[in-house]
Amino acid sequence: MRGPRGHSPIKAQESSPAQSNDAVAAQVLRALRGNAAAEEWIAHRAYAAGLRLATFSLDDANLAQDVGQEVAIRVLRGLPKLRDADRFDAWTYRICAAEIKRAAKKRQRHDWRPFSEGAEVSVEATFTQSLGDRDWLVQALGRLSERQRLVLGLHFVFGLDDREIAAAIRARRGTVRSLLSRALARLRELAELESEMSLDREGAVANQNKEAVR
């Protein structure tokens, strides 16, 4: 996959869907003909997509389950209106993006998180201790805007390129490239700060040890 212009190539994980597009389309057609097993398969696929993208974008397990469930319901209800079974996944991604935006707004209204889009929180206030890579990343993602996280999620979780992401969030490709580029730049900036702080911490510990020896 080609990365967005303007940032160094962090390769997106391929979404590696277990099923080919043809197989997905076949299941969609079966579901449309009332095949219960295919409907369940469709619901599971849609739910999983919503759950995974929401987990990346929102970092809230319960909210992610809500999003997954809502995506599954919307997909099952909207299936008869889908014009081309080949476009099932793209359509599902659009629904996922819409549901995540809705969930994010709801969360902001309820003020569930201490930071919100655009809020400036000092890095030092958050990274007060050395974190594992995973926890560090989750916290760093929390420093991004909701939209940046959503775009990053579509890129990395589903392996979508900028054109596909633009279709999913109904934005221009240039906007998507910009969001991706800025999000990755911000993560790098935070990574560098974390690295510097980690060195400082190690230095402080070494000095304390020296003092203790004396």
Binding site: R33, G34, E39, A48
Partner: protein, 229 residues
């Protein structure tokens, strides 16, 4: 943290996320709350029908500006609507598309046929309960009552149906049409044979399709439909 470890962090986090599975109870609830879900539909009617292709690719196909001629159904389609076998070549065993194969909870059609083909794309026909169905490749399909089909197909001699936006066009035609021709703003036309009242045609969207014509066996144009690019 270096760039490499940033990438590694994202990869491992995404790998962790991909292992997440839906909550089974919530999934069941989602299915149960969806109208029509998890139970076989009484008919295939709820399966959407793809309307006359108003657009092909990003082109818009002008709807319903057909020739003045009133179409008469092809004999094969007419027979099918009247209770006969699906038109075209009957499929058997593994030839039947996967989504029409018998599976638990699915009332699979007894007979499925291929009306017309172009490469790997096929126009399928079958009867499901009291409905007449056409599937346009694996993209989309429609099931309607014989009366509905008849009312629609008797209006004109040329119908493009199926998915929008692709280069493969599926369609049905009235009697006396032996082939279909697509004319472009530039270059030679594309032609495809009509078999048993149906056709599948690979159009060149990049050359600005202008007109769809139905030709009789002598090559004379007997039906036309402008394509508005």
């Amino acid at each position: 943290m270096s760039e490499i470890s940033l990438e590694g962090s994202i990869r491992s986090y995404v790998a962790e996320i991909r292992r997440l599975s839906p909550d089974p109870d919530r999934l069941d609830s989602a299915i149960a709350n969806s109208p029509g879900a998890s139970r076989p539909r009484s008919s295939a009617r709820s399966y959407r029908w793809s309307p006359l292709a108003i657009g092909l690719a990003s082109l818009l196909l002008c709807a319903a500006v057909a020739t003045a001629a009133t179409g008469v159904l092809s004999s094969a389609v007419d027979s099918f609507l009247g209770g006969g076998d699906p038109p075209g070549r009957q499929l058997s065993g593994g030839e039947v598309p996967s989504w029409l194969q018998p599976t638990p909870g699915f009332n699979a059609p007894d007979k499925v046929s291929v009306v017309a083909s172009a490469g790997d794309e096929h126009l399928y026909a079958y009867r499901q309960e009291n409905y007449i169905c056409f599937d346009y490749g694996h993209h989309v399909g429609e099931c309607r009552s014989p009366a509905e089909w008849r009312g629609e197909l008797e209006k004109r001699k040329l119908f493009i149906r199926g998915p929008l936006g692709g280069s493969t066009w599926f369609g049905l035609s009235g009697s006396g049409i032996a082939s279909i021709r697509v004319e472009y703003s530039d270059g030679p036309p594309t032609e495809a044979a009509v078999t048993d009242g149906g056709f599948v045609l690979n159009a060149d969207r990049d050359r600005d399709p202008q007109r769809l014509s139905g030709l009789d066996a002598s090559g004379a144009v007997v039906a036309e439909q402008p394509l508005d690019g």
